[in-house]
């Protein structure tokens, strides 16, 4: 199984919003040697009962299948959805990107941000913090460009994802 090519999968995991549940999920990945490329978690229900965890992982298909089965076996897990396998879905992440500089590089940073629809959310005379969101590739690309014009630091949310169409999962 190990020699099969790796695939990137985005999983949505609905869990009881209770103490320790994130540790169960994360611990399962580390204990069994699965990869986490990104992870987000937040309460998504009106009554604070259910959290939605989005994990981007990668592995050969049998490993992905095993990850889903292992997650599904955890008692506080309601459902595990493989959005990648289910078909069309939207993925987004947001990043806060701090850039410092003056003169031409400062002007260039602002121009590039405009092209990426990144919004300055903090400004000093020597720096910007841009808010940028979109698919992972767009965020990656924006950060790469900012490196050339004075990137200081980055904070990213990781991927959140949802299936297209009218139905809820």
């Amino acid at each position: 199984m190990k020699h099969l090519p790796s695939e990137r999968h985005t999983l949505s995991i609905l869990v009881d919003n209770e103490s320790g549940v994130l540790a169960r999920i994360v611990g399962l990945f580390s204990a069994r040697g699965y990869n986490i490329d990104s992870l987000t978690v937040a309460d998504v229900s009106g009554d604070h009962a259910v959290s939605r965890i989005t994990v981007v992982t990668n592995g050969p298909p049998p490993v992905i299948e095993q990850i889903i089965a292992q997650l599904d076996r955890l008692v506080p897990v309601h459902r595990v959805l493989d959005l990648t396998a289910l078909g069309p879905h939207v993925e987004r992440e947001m990043a806060l990107v701090k850039v410092a500089g003056t003169g031409a590089s400062r002007d260039e940073a602002l121009r590039l941000a405009d092209i990426f629809r990144a919004r300055p959310v903090d400004t000093t005379t020597g720096s910007f913090v841009f808010e940028v969101s979109g698919p992972t590739s767009k965020v990656d690309q924006f950060i790469a460009l900012m490196r050339e014009v004075g990137l200081v630091e980055v904070a990213r949310t990781g991927v959140v994802a949802i299936a297209r169409g009218a139905e809820a999962v």
Binding site: M1, D16, S19, G20, A23, R24, G27, L28, A31, P62, E65, Q66, A69, Q70, D72, R73, V75, P76, V77, H78
Partner: protein
Amino acid sequence: MSAELTGAEIVVQALIDQGVEVVFGYPGGAVLPIYDALFAQQRIRHILVRHEQAAVHAAEGYARSSGKVGVVLVTSGPGATNAVTGITDAMMDSVPLVVITGQVPTHLIGTDAFQECDTVGITRHCSKHNYLVKETARLGAVLHEAFYIARSGRPGPVVIDIPKDVQIMRARYAKPGVVGHKTYKPQVKGDLASIEAAVEMLAAAERPILYIGGGIINSGPVASQLLRDIAKLTGAPVTSTLMGLGAVPNDHPQFLGMLGMHGSYEANMAMNRCDLMLCLGARFDDRVTGRLDAFSPHSKKIHVDIDRTSINKTVRVDLGIVGDVGGVMEDMIKVWRARGHKAVDLEQWWSDIRGWRARDSFGFAQKGKELLPQHAIKRLYEATRAQKPIISTEVGQHQMWAAQHFGFDAPNKWLTSGGLGTMGYGLPAAIGAQIANPGALVIDIAGEASIQMNIQELGTASQYRLPVKVFIINNEYMGMVRQWQELNHGSRYSESYSDSLPDFVKLAEAYGWKGIVIEDADGLDAGIAAMLAHDGPVMVDCRVAKLANCFPMIPSGAAHTDMILEAGDAQGERDEDAKALV
């Protein structure tokens, strides 16, 4: 209606409402309120062990031999950490347990208080589920839910950590009706279309084999009967994992014995050459499969398991059926009969199997005074068989010899640490089994090294007048370690000699047990008879050939067809890849 009870009283009342008769435990500061509540009642019997690890193994022995949920009660900190080995053992071998641990009061959690540890953190990945209960009002529901989770689906240990203030505070408690869980609802009923497909594959097979495991035992005694029915209908040979022994009687003509690393030649060859493998409640463990890319290369594989993660975990199968193995077998039999299938003529297949059987891979030749361990176990079996004994073991050579040479005729009679391989399991497990089966003959087949890992439990057996027998196969070595050193490490016996052994007879006597020595082959039968004649606990120090090894053996990472049958083939040094395997 329901009056207000203290948390401790709720714990005890919930246990009573669950039908719990026995709790294995050890008191300490953070569980004193629960011990006080136990003191005030007569329904639940508490068995005081001498070490918390043993409390868990005793509860495992109780559970495996009775089919009930085992219950453990220990204190915070070291009480909980000592229990971790047992909890992990129960997790690996799918034993239903509820383990209640005391915790420091809620306002001290996180302050490194005396005897504080992060019990739910530590046990999160070695339990099926765990809870830290911070409100007394939640206690009753959590207790009942824990029993539901422990016994539903693939059974396992559930830990409930209860801070001391939660045990003291009061809340209402009412016995619940149907207990369940809002989302945890394991699939029990197998998919019928898949079952029909499985029956067709089975009916068309020319070289079928039934590969069965502990799931059959966990499914209940009916499953063992259904398995025998399937064997009869199909005429297929049956082989069992270590955990499944007893599901088919040892002398059943279609039973090939245990398979895997120390399994029989015929079982492993049949696994290799079969054209259809029906795996029932087993999990393709590495001890069973050997080298994965050479595992049963020409077969279609059907896997029935209650745990979806077991299917396609290490071995890809052609058809996976998630469900309780007993129910699935029942449906398979119905479909088989409804479709008018008859057993196929398997004469060529059985002729091959007879050829492999003729190798007599479990054979040994007892000659002279030096006692072979295999012979000791065989004679123990013959002397006790009529009494339908319950056998527990420790871990090592003696465990494998017991699996090979002690015949198991019924389920729930064989208690051994299969997945985790825990030395020190056997004596407390025997104690738990004796509590569950007061009239039964319970024997721990031990090694002189393993027995010392929970030797303090001799006192527990004395206290409760439990007539358990400990039969030590004493070769003065950690025999399996030495065997691997011979196989892989040029016979350099690094730290595997059992030096400074106690006088087991005197030790037994110090605890109020009877002690017996069997010096050699001449004294074997008399020693066994003396053990059986004594109506209290007996420890037998059975001195066996020091350098005997356990064969046949598939070395780690080798294929089923690469079995070592003779001791002479198993010396030397292996390459680094082989050495790296366990």
